[in-house]
């Protein structure tokens, strides 16, 4: 133990934040194929079966694939960031304690949570972007409108943050021994009540279900993307989507951050 390393001055918190972010990027980069499989497989099969197979067999009407595609982008953006954040967080807090090295870095605890959210959102944005060429590949074409971009981009961003918020809440509330139960109880309903497979206004004929879906914030991501990509289909107007998403985000982040602090500091 000859080389006495000189003590290090406390670095700026921004630098620490970037170092932690770099760790996450490094790990994801090292397992990029796994990451792709993890995030793409589910929306890919939904797209393939509902958009391609059922359409080819004549069980869905022409144009359904166009209606489905924005919904699947919404699903990808929300679910990817939720999974990115929630699963590892439950394990790290409850079992491996891997997060401790980052909690003991000279950075505020809130920033550790913020890094998790940012990184989850980044992964989700990448996954959502990748879904577009996959959509073209599976369906032949996707409903794309450059003029819809000013709505598309913020909705996708909000969707990925929404998923991160959900992930933060679940990841800090769920105990490792409950992980399977809670995730199937949350994940499946979220998947099917988020209007990714059907436009919300068309549910008027199924009023009770329409009310339920209105309570799922993912609905507003699906509807916002429909507004951006296929405005001809009846949809919830973007400003309602933005308001609902921002409101959900504020609530989820508040609960999630509180949960994170509670897990990080006794």
């Amino acid at each position: 133990m000859s080389a006495a390393a000189p003590a290090v001055d406390a670095p700026g918190q921004g630098r620490v934040f970037l170092a932690v972010l770099r760790r996450d990027v490094y790990v994801t980069w090292g397992e990029f194929p796994v990451f792709l499989a993890q995030v793409i497989l589910q929306p890919f099969f939904l797209l393939f079966v509902f958009g391609k197979v059922l359409g080819s067999l004549g069980y869905t009407r022409a144009g359904y694939a166009n209606l489905l595609f924005p919904g699947l982008l919404a699903l990808t953006s929300v679910i990817t960031s939720m999974q990115t954040l929630a699963f590892p967080l439950v394990i790290e807090f409850g079992w491996t304690k891997e997060i401790e090295d980052r909690l003991l870095a000279p950075m505020s605890t809130g920033l550790v949570a913020a890094e998790k959210v940012l990184f989850a959102a980044l992964r989700s944005l990448i996954a959502t972007t990748i879904m577009i060429p996959i959509g073209i590949l599976v369906l032949g074409s996707v409903p794309w409108r450059w003029s819809g971009l000013p709505v598309f981009l913020p909705i996708v961003l909000l969707g990925s943050l929404l998923g991160a918020g959900l992930g933060l809440v679940l990841g800090t509330l769920v105990r490792p021994n409950r992980i399977n139960i809670v995730f199937s109880l949350v994940f499946t309903p979220l998947l099917f009540t988020g209007c990714s497979q059907y436009p919300w206004p068309s549910l008027a004929r199924l009023r009770w279900f329409q009310v339920i879906t209105a309570g799922n914030p993912m609905t507003y991501v699906s509807e916002g993307l429909r507004a951006a990509m296929i405005p001809s289909v009846p949809h919830i107007t973007p400003w309602i989507c933005f308001t609902a998403l921002l409101g959900s985000l504020v609530v989820l982040m508040a609960i999630g951050t509180r949960g994170f602090y509670r897990r990080a500091i006794d």
Binding site: M1, A3, A4, A5, P6, A7, V8, D9, A10, P11, G12, Q13, R15, V16, A19, V20, R22, R23, Y26, V27, G30, T96, K97, E98, E100, D101, R102, L103, L104, A105, P106, M107, S108, T109, A264, I265, D266
Partner: protein, 347 residues
């Protein structure tokens, strides 16, 4: 203790009560650790050691009182405090997604060690800890002792002023424990302050300059291991066995031994239990009982060094025409200190 240098660790009237608990996990604890000192917190599970260290390492918010590490208030400025401390937990918390070397390198990055410096430090430390050939492996397959070595190396990457170790020897095999103790001794020589929690008396006695004994959230005693052991009333004893001649009075012998310097008190003890043989009388035959009746066993409570008293005691017996047949030294351990303080055994 008028030391000019500020304390490495300072805890004042620290109280921690967890929500929904009716008692304080840490109850008005105060102590200071000097720079370069090895400080041990000894106590059973649930004594409040880990909570105390949790406050010092910014992971537990105290209910009241104050705590400082390297002069930084850990409650008011936890971010700065973290750059001066490192924690080695009981169980591995290594980053399983990263290789051993990258565990070290990213840890250094989190602590702002310049990029060009990280690799050099990591390689040096991995060599010192005998991990050079495993640098590229992930920690999943490491044993507890190996993972702990990695964690110590990782902790040293940002050259902390104070290193906190939670039950460092728990679960280690003897070789790994020895390796750890040697590394810790080297760290001490380098001037790193070490604070360790342990319920292992041997570990506390072997490593710590001073030991704080905790139980039920309170700090019961705080001193060097030697002073603590000396403090046990009647702790140091010398037991002597001899065989009385027919008609010889035991009281005269006891009185003579009691006049020796540094002997505080003499008492006769039952030869059977004193000799450490079976305490069950049923095992002894009638013949041996008769012989034992002439056996005299006395316990001397000694204020000084008991071994030095063996020769004078033998001389005293010889003056009475007796031969010293058996000697047993009773040097108190930290365990005895604990029993003396709490009335029960540590484990």
């Amino acid at each position: 203790m008028a030391s000019a240098a500020p304390a490495a660790v300072s805890v004042r009237a620290l109280v921690k009560r967890y929500p929904k608990s009716s008692v304080n996990a840490v109850d008005e604890v105060s102590f200071e650790v000097r720079p370069g000192e090895v400080f041990g917190l000894l106590g059973p599970n649930g004594a409040g050691k880990t909570t105390t260290v949790g406050v010092l390492t910014t992971r537990v918010r105290p209910t009241s009182g104050s705590a400082e590490v390297a002069g930084v208030d850990v409650v008011r400025d936890p971010v700065r405090a973290r750059s001066f401390l490192a924690v080695i937990p009981q169980r591995s918390n290594l980053d399983r997604a990263l290789s051993i070397r990258n565990n070290l390198i990213f840890h250094a990055a989190y602590h702002g060690v310049p990029a060009q410096e990280r690799g050099r430090r990591a390689d040096t430390l991995l060599e010192q800890f005998g991990l050079g050939d495993r640098a590229s492996q992930k920690p999943d397959l490491f044993s507890g002792g190996q993972a702990q070595r990695v964690m110590v190396a990782r902790a040293l990457m940002h050259a902390p002023r104070v290193l906190f170790l939670d039950e460092p020897s728990t679960g280690l095999d003897p070789a790994a424990r020895l390796f750890l103790w040697e590394r810790l001794a080297e760290l001490k020589e380098r001037g790193v302050t070490l604070v360790l929690t342990t319920h292992d008396m041997d570990e506390a006695a072997a490593l710590a300059d001073r030991v704080g004994i905790m139980d039920h959230g309170k700090l019961l005693a705080l001193d060097t291991p030697e002073a603590l052991m000396r403090s046990v009333p009647g702790g140091t004893t010398l037991e002597l066995t001899t065989h009385l001649a027919d008609g010889q009075e035991a009281d005269a012998v006891v009185a003579a031994l009691g006049r020796l310097a540094e002997v505080e008190r003499v008492e006769r003890v039952d030869p059977v239990s004193a000799n450490g043989a079976s305490a069950r009388g049923s095992e002894a035959g009638p013949g041996s009982a008769e012989r034992r009746s002439r056996e005299l066993c006395v316990r001397l409570y000694v204020s000084g060094d008991a071994p030095l008293l063996v020769a004078p005691a033998a001389a005293t017996l010889a003056a009475q025409g007796l031969t010293l047949a058996a000697v047993k030294l009773g040097i108190p351990s930290l365990e005895d200190v604990f029993i003396d303080l709490t009335g029960r055994a540590l484990r």
